[in-house]
Structures are given as C-alpha cells and as structure tokens.
C-alpha cells in the first residue's frame, strides 16, 4: 500500500462489533468492514434463503428488509447495519404460520426453480409496506427490481395482487 488513511499508517485491519435485531432475535456480531450483509447472512450465519444472483444490485435475489424497507443485501456492508432491524425470508413466518405473502406465492404457484423466490417475497412485503402500488401496472413497475429467469412474473403478480387487495 502506498498511501495510508489519515493517522492510520500501518494500522492492522480490525473487525467491528455490531448489534442487530435479526429475524426478531438480538444479535451481537463481529464483522470485518468488507463483509457484505449477504455474505454475513449466508456464510457466517447460515441463513442461505437470501440468494446471490449477481452480487451487483442487478437481480434482487438478495432482497431483505431493513427497518421494514427492502434493500439489496449484496450492496450493503454488514458493518453499516449496526442498530438495524433486519428480516430475511427465514424470519417472515410466525412459527409454523406462513406469512400471507408466502401463502399467496404457494397458492398462485409463483415460482418454478425457486431461486428468485426469497427475494421476490421479501421485496413484495417491502412493496406492501410502502403502500404505493394500487394497480397491476404499479405492482409490475415496483417489482421490477426482482428478476425471474423462469419467467414466473404473471403468477408472482397475481400472488401480490391478492395480498394487497386483502388489505384495507
């Protein structure tokens, strides 16, 4: 390394301690600064529901909820999630009771290979939280951050429509 950060010459790289609420559980974790949230979940915490499709924010397979908002875990540093409340696909169900969005995806057969599904469902829950999708075209536009290589889009949309319509 040629240049070094201000006052950080020859300092060793260190891990940082973060606190999270992860799927309803408080966690204290040590993370290296360059660990993405997606790698933390998949490689260190064995929460492999969130998928790594592209690792560049282009597919949505890694979508999780941070403080109720959908984000791409692949472009998020774990160290920057200190204090956050995170929900992954593993945390949506209430015990054995599936989340309504999960039930609707099953009912409408909204997947084929299933690779994109955890991201689609988390994204759809984020969409419902936002309250901005009022018709089919808006659902389509606001789900455009989640690609499905199997092309299950029409069933995904039907599942989401059913859940949104069930809302007051």
């Amino acid at each position: 390394m040629s240049a070094t950060p201000n006052g950080a010459a020859a300092q060793p790289f260190v891990s940082h301690s973060i606190r999270l609420s992860l799927n309803g559980q408080d966690r204290q974790l040590d993370v290296l600064p360059w660990t993405t949230l997606l790698d933390l979940l998949r490689e260190q915490l064995d929460l492999v529901g969130s998928k790594k499709g592209c690792d560049h924010g282009q597919c949505g397979a890694c979508t999780v909820l941070r403080d109720g908002k959908r984000i791409n875990a692949c472009l998020t540093l774990a160290v920057m999630c200190d204090g956050a409340e995170l929900t992954t696909i593993e945390g949506l169900a209430d015990g054995d009771q599936l989340h309504p969005m999960q039930q609707a995806f099953i009912k409408h057969d909204a997947f084929q290979c299933g690779y994109c599904t955890p991201g689609q469902i988390c994204s759809a829950v984020g969409l419902a939280n936002e309250g901005r999708a009022h018709d089919t075209a808006q659902i389509q536009e606001l789900m455009s951050g989640n690609l499905c290589r199997c092309g299950a889009y029409s069933n995904i949309r039907a599942a989401i429509e059913e859940v949104l319509e069930g809302k007051p």
């Binding site: 240049a3 360059w34 949505g60 959908r70 984000i71 472009l75 998020t76 540093l77 936002e130």
Partner: protein
Amino acid sequence: MNPFHYSRPTGVQEAVHLSSAASRFIAGGTNLLDLMKENISRPEHLIDITGLPLHDIQQTSSGGLLIGALVSNADLAWHPLIEQRYPLLSQAILAGASPQLRNMASTGGNLLQRTRCYYFYDATVPCNKREPGSGCPARTGLNRIHAILGASEQCVATHPSDMCVALAALAARVHVEGRGGARIIEFADFHRLPGDTPQRDNLLADDELITAVELPADNLASHSNYLKIRDRASYAFALVSVAAALELDGDRIIDARLALGGVAHKPWRDRAVEAGLIGQVVSRETFSQAADALLQDAEPLEHNGFKIKLARRGIIRALSDAAVAGERP
C-alpha cells in the same frame, strides 16, 4: 474487495477531517461497493457518513427546499412536498434503478455515481477515466450508450443519473463542505465535461462532502414531465432522457426548462434553447425548433447515431406532454 479501514463519524467536520486521498465517503454504497467489487475503486479507508445529521428536508426562507445529502432517493421521490412542488424530480427518481436501490441510494451519492461505460467498468482494458492517459477504447469500440454532445477525444462517457437531469432543469444548487469551509455550487457547474481530464467527473475536492441539495422556488410544478427512453421498460439506464418544464400563461411560454440525460458527460441543460422558448406559443413547431437548436452540435459515434433522432423526438414529446401535464386528470 480489498481490505479497508472503516470509521463512522457523527459530525460533518469530523468526517471531512478524516478524509484523505486514499479514503472514500460511503452513503448508500450502491455505486461505490459495486465499483470496489470490480476493483475499479480501491479505497483504503471508508468513511461511513450515514451517521451525519443530513437526513432532513427543510423549507428555505426563500420558498425552496433544502434536501439533506443523506435523504434516500425513495424518501425524496415520495416526500409530499416534492410530489407537490417538484413532481419532475419525483418522476425522474422513480424512473431510475429499482425500489430496493432507491431505498439505499442517497441524494449526495446519486450526484456522484460514475459512468456506466462498459470499458470503464472493465479493469482489464485501458480507459482514460480510470487510468488517465491509457486511452479510450469506446471511441473506436462499442459506443452505443455513449455521448453525442460535449464529448472529447479523451472520453465519450455519459453521466448515468436520472435524478440529476431533473435537478439540472430545476436549477438546483449543491451545498458542500470541506476543510476550508462551505461553498455552494450551481448545478450546471457541478458536473464537468471530460476535456483533457476525464478522470474528474465534477468540481468536488477530495476533502469535500455534499451536505445538501437546494431547490429554488419556481412555478413549474403544473407543467413538467420526465421522459426516459431505454432498452427495456424498467430497471435500465437511459439511452436518452428528457426533463421538460414550462410555466405557461394560457398557451404562451413564460419560463422553460429543458435538460437531457444519456447524451453527455453531464446532465445537458441548454440555457439558450430555453431562452428561445420564452415568449413563444406552445406548438409542435416551437418544440421542434427547440430540439433542432439543442442538437445542432450533436456528433454521433459509430453506434450511437440513433440517439440524435431519439433525443429530437424525445424533446418534442416531453415538452408537448409537459404543456398539457397540468390539464391531465
């Protein structure tokens, strides 16, 4: 990604004093982390600015709005005051990226996102923006997405932002703070043309932090339109985009704004063309002349000649739609 040090300051001056030539600020991370994964950006120290108190949207004494640099793109687009007073900005933001990315991306970071030129993104080939002096493979290679206005021999890249095209049309001002103090930069001056130094995208110094973006008061809200033309219907960068806004008295134009995205190294706003629209009556002919004037110096590369036609038609359509926007139900 290469290893790096991490700090999380809580004040603007603290952040600015932590910065060095080898450090980078990080906000949403949606562009920086992508570039770090591609080994194009290799900071040794990341300064996480998300703890700074720059998350608010405030009204200014002159009737405008001051948007904190850390307001997310989603919160900005859906803020009631933005939807009411600056619908052009809402529309432009919502035309960009994806809902997930807009939840993460910040106002300041959006201004500083780097070009999507494929050669810039490929660390194995030369690129004057990445490695000054190494050459520009886009000039003779694949240049379908590249610039038709304001390019140089050294670089033909475009600025990829949608939000910035609206901010250019709205005559926003960028508030920045560095070790030497604070300054305000007019949006039109913030981004630069490539010239002989394409490695520099904008006027921001290494130690400077964007603290806010200011929107001046205007009367453009009822007649504005953002038109984005791209290869697929959503979640793609613009080939050409047009931000158009008019203030009308009947069908006479009192004020006009016209900025283009996807065509140059910076959001392309042409003040002379805007001035030419003022006093005219809304008509296809008026808008067609404006389009011709704006594009008179456009220069195609081998694969992007279609952008000139697309921009011409886009300008006419965006202005026509803006003229009737307020009359739509």
